[in-house]
């Protein structure tokens, strides 16, 4: 069976006055129809730009340079803007981090959901409102009929995020992209939101592409993870494999930087240095300047993502010799 989404050789760049930002530099990955795939990275790793490229929402001075984004076998990069508008919000939906700025402050939440329905369905005005109220109920908003006539600022952060999710699932999307959906929220609300998404995913059967900086959130929600660093995928693995057997020095460093909740509280092992400037990337491996394993060759040769065991890919010259048949799986 072919996957719901297959990204092949995606390159997205921004042409700024300071120079060319290599935001996404040759990504290959796939996402199954029923799968939750986590994309983990720090600021500037290219995770959000990857999502915006899938949605074809890259604006000037940004450009998708090359690659293919196959959604149900069709290349989204070959679609017209008109066709994309039919896909966004219907086939593929995205929930952004900041719920206050992604909702229109001058419209009630019910009206905003009804708007999406007007664009993508043939429901009557009354049916659209009824459906909006049903959706608000489905995402666990108490008194949905009343809340539908509220403006975004009248809702709490958690409620707004629920309303955004209601809007995103209003047309039963096949793929739901979540960009740091809980970063601005408290931990108890975060747990509620993920309980909701897990439940909706099971009920509606959709693929979920979860962007986060938080390896703990991924561990409790996703089946597979991609780790990105400075525009490149550095590691990809099944969720269990990644935490038991992380291979890339960056992934290992990230896991060791999380203060543990159990056990002895020891000094944290931090990753030295800072994320590189995407305009002036170092030669060779992007992580080289911060890596304690790096040698001469790492500063010259750019490592490729190779499969070291089934489903486990890593881009590091120091980790495992490439096995046969490796490459872009």
């Amino acid at each position: 069976m072919s996957p719901l989404l297959r990204v092949e050789g995606l390159v997205t760049r921004f042409y700024t006055d300071e120079g060319v930002v290599k935001a996404v530099d040759g990504s290959f990955f796939h996402l199954g129809a029923d799968e939750a795939l986590g994309v983990v990275g720090e600021s500037g790793s290219g995770k959000t730009v990857t999502a915006l490229s899938i949605m074809r929402l890259i604006e000037n001075p940004g450009r998708i340079e090359s690659g293919r984004i196959l959604f149900n076998g069709e290349d989204l990069l070959r679609k017209s803007e008109r066709e994309m508008r039919r896909i966004r919000g219907k086939e593929i939906s995205m929930v952004f981090q900041d719920s206050l700025s992604s909702l229109n402050p001058t419209l009630t939440v019910g009206a905003q959901i009804a708007r999406v329905l007007r664009y993508h369905t043939r429901l009557s005005r009354r049916a659209r409102w009824r459906r909006a109220v049903e959706l608000l109920a489905a995402v666990g908003i108490p008194e949905p009929a009343k809340r539908a006539s509220h403006y975004p600022h009248q809702l709490s952060g958690g409620m707004r995020q629920r309303a955004l999710i209601a809007m995103a699932i209003s047309c039963d999307p096949k793929l739901l992209i979540l960009d740091e959906p809980t970063t601005a929220l408290d931990v108890t609300i975060e747990a509620q939101i993920f309980e909701l998404i897990r439940d909706l995913k099971a009920r509606l059967g959709m693929g979920v592409f979860l962007i986060t900086h938080d390896l703990s959130v991924v561990a409790s929600f996703c089946q597979r993870v991609i780790i990105m660093y400075a525009g490149k995928i550095v590691e990809e693995a099944d969720i269990h494999e990644l935490y038991v057997n992380p291979l890339h020095p960056y992934t290992r460093g990230l896991l060791r930087s999380i203060p543990p909740l159990e056990g002895e509280a020891e000094r944290l092992e931090s990753i030295p240095g800072e994320v590189p400037d995407l305009i002036n990337l170092p030669p060779g491996c992007n992580f080289g300047p911060r890596c304690d394993l790096a040698d001469e060759r790492c500063r010259e040769v750019e490592p490729e993502l190779v499969e070291v065991s089934p489903g486990h890919r890593v881009a590091c010259l120091k980790v495992g010799a490439p096995t046969m048949g490796g490459g872009n799986g």
């Binding site: 931990v187 108890t188 975060e190 269990h240 909740l261 509280a265 931090s270 990753i271």
Partner: protein, 327 residues
């Protein structure tokens, strides 16, 4: 118990719910941001103050550094009642108590160089001039892990981690004894968070600093704290030694909070979800403020009587009707 450097007694801060004085004539309601809290911090230790948005933890920190005036209560620092200080005495006290802010991008003046930013507190307090100032600046930056070449840079030229180091250097410049750290690593990337946490802990040891560490991230708080106070809707619900509170939390809210935290381990038991949201501090629930969301709700007593902080086994102080003094 060793000597308390800071002790807070029955601290209360009520903000008017309405915006300006005119609206306040018609709307006398108040936001009970901090509603009678007490705690002590021993010299050279860290008290972690945790809670969700609206719990009152940031307000508490700001009262201690005298950025806002409380409605009532006492803050005693090294035997001196902080809230009574005025003029010169208050200014002198500000040298001893400093603050590190959450967002280094907005707490640094974008028009000033790093050197000017870190020199400002020294200038205000008239501490050093000329050649000595330069040396002091370089030394302070080095303490925060920055080299002298940063002196002439502007905040926008720095990364998030470097900016936070400047914020730390600014706090250290006047040689304080006590620092309120308000979510100092929240805005930073994971790999940088660890660097800053290590730095703060090294500085504490080197300079025998005392910290009030305000954060919502429980794993960060566990890492840096000696004792932890958990706040909910303007009240402290539990306060105890860090290891004890994380291994055997008493208050149902502390338990729920810990159970909601995701672990970086796919084999970990699923997160337990606490339902509902933190109620409005304008009109907090009567009795125990946590009772509408509590899994151990006992009935009438929780709805009607507000539990006070009592000391139970092992010295934990907890505000919950499930526990009796000394039990």
């Amino acid at each position: 118990m060793a000597e308390a450097l800071l002790s807070v007694r029955d601290l209360v801060k009520h903000f008017p719910a309405a915006g300006d004085w005119f609206a306040q004539i018609f709307d006398r309601r108040v936001v009970r941001a901090v509603d009678g809290i007490s705690f002590e911090i021993e010299r050279g230790t860290t008290l972690g103050l945790v809670g969700e948005s609206g719990s009152g933890k940031t307000t508490t920190g700001r009262i201690i550094v005298r950025l806002i005036e409380p409605t009532g209560g006492e803050v005693v620092f090294d035997g001196i009642d902080l809230l009574k200080l005025k003029g010169r005495a208050l200014k002198a006290m500000r040298k001893r108590i400093q603050m590190i802010f959450q967002d280094p991008a907005s707490s640094l003046n974008p028009r000033k160089t790093v050197g000017q930013i870190v020199a400002e507190p020294l200038r205000v307090h008239g501490m050093v001039r000329g050649r000595a100032l330069e040396e002091r600046l370089v030394h302070t930056l080095e303490l925060a892990g920055l080299s002298a070449r940063f002196l002439n840079r502007y905040p926008h030229e720095l990364s998030g981690g470097q900016r936070q180091r400047v914020g730390i250097a600014r706090a250290l410049a006047v040689g304080p004894e006590f620092i309120v750290c308000d979510e100092p690593v929240t805005a930073l990337d994971v790999s940088i968070q660890a660097q800053i946490l290590n730095l703060l802990m090294d500085l504490q040891e080197e300079l025998s600093l005392t910290y009030l560490f305000i954060a919502h991230d429980l794993s960060v708080v566990r890492h840096v704290s000696d004792r932890v106070a958990v706040m909910y809707l303007g009240k402290i619900v539990e306060i105890w030694d860090v290891d004890a509170i994380f291994s055997a939390p008493k208050h149902p809210y502390t338990r729920a909070l810990l159970a909601a935290v995701p672990r970086p381990d796919p084999e970990a038991p699923p997160r337990k979800v606490l339902h509902g949201e933190i109620p409005s501090p304008i009109d907090p629930p009567p009795g125990c403020r946590f009772h509408p969301r509590c899994g151990r709700f006992l009935g009438e007593i929780c709805r009607e009587r507000e539990p006070s902080l009592v000391t139970v086994d092992g010295g934990v102080r907890v505000a919950c009707h499930l526990y009796r003094q000394g039990a």
